[in-house]
Symmetry: C2
Subunit: 237 residues, 2 copies
Amino acid sequence: MSDAHDRDSGEPGQGSARGIPEATVARLPIYLRALTTLSDHGIATTSSEDLAIAAGVNSAKLRKDLSHLGSYGTRGVGYDVAYLRYQIAREIGLTQDWPVVIVGIGNLGQALANYSGFSSRGFRIVALVDADPALVGDRLGALKIQPLAALESLITEHRVSIGVITTPAQAAQSVADRLVARGVTSILNFAPTVIAVPDGVDVRKVDLSIELQILAFHEQRKASGHGSPEPVAVESA
Amino acid sequence: MSDAHDRDSGEPGQGSARGIPEATVARLPIYLRALTTLSDHGIATTSSEDLAIAAGVNSAKLRKDLSHLGSYGTRGVGYDVAYLRYQIAREIGLTQDWPVVIVGIGNLGQALANYSGFSSRGFRIVALVDADPALVGDRLGALKIQPLAALESLITEHRVSIGVITTPAQAAQSVADRLVARGVTSILNFAPTVIAVPDGVDVRKVDLSIELQILAFHEQRKASGHGSPEPVAVESA
DNA sequence: TACTGTGAACCAATTCACAGCC
DNA sequence: GGCTGTGAATTGGTTCACAGTA
């Protein structure tokens, strides 16, 4: 996948107890979401087959993924929804609280600040920072936008370990440097540029226009009949 | 892993001329962006080594990726920035115009509607649609927000082939069904739910809270010394 | 000489298929 | 009987290392 996100650091060759493959880690949140939905619908038990459908993967992959966490199912029966949900949440680390700072309060930063999907999952946005003096002091929900100069003290004050960068591309590296210098070790980067960080710091990037470009590539292929004129139905959806 | 997106349809076993691996496709937009940056800085020629650094990958991967498109470099010299840029843009399909509709004009939908990164790359947002009567009629840039009932006619009128869903989760499937019924074959889904589509339709999903959860997982690992107490420097950044 | 393009080797992820258990 | 958990097989992707060439 694609995402194919790049994960470079982290001891790859360690044969220790807990070596959950990166591809599995990326799917755990999806399983968690599916389990929450099932739970909301009053479903108490599920099978790998049903859960896989709810998560949009195949059941073999789901079982293999879950097997990396432990044996939380019952052969012949399936999985207890609430129990499995808790185990995955714990594995991801959602049973604790993660203070987050958002740097760059443009349209996207505002959208993220208001996004309920964060707060409902243990992420607490504790500070909003922007370089534009015209924005500083504005309220957004319960938070006031702070000047960029306050970044360092805010990180320390709120013990922030995850930073979100929603600045223009040209500002992103400098913001990343300042986050890292103050001890932030995880960065979610929405700025359309590559940022360099020292080893031990995790960066995930989301580039909205890249996603559209990937779609455009496939769309172009479909438009020009480059082999089979009709989309062939290989496997059912 | 990218992100590890799932790509299911599309003839996988076709031995035709053009079988570009999905992982490569996902990186082409990154190379394109890096080339544009180099070009903006007045750089006319580059090597796989320099371009790889600008794109945040290693040079062997870059060369292998480019080799799938053809031989656009010169041994002993490198790549012509403008030429390679054009070739990649053409491969992705950015030399043509892609009309896009955005459904769901909440915070995120608005952010996307205003995002300049789309328009600058051949994506033209031709319609904004929302189910909330209170929003309908509002202007956003050059566009008026239209009622959900207008979705079908807008798709036809503007020949839309790419749809962006930024609705709440519960509305996403119904919107997807309507898009697909009118001939949309590529969907970018921001709603935090799995949507089912028939074979031949491409869906890419972006879930902002999932990205944070993946970071949280690694952050948790770093916090509890689970093997090596200090982050080990394996390779330089 | 310096750099690309690519077979070969390696590694990660997915899928298959069935043993093991309730 | 029905479902999980997992070795084995397969597929896809990355990295190595060097032959080929301007």
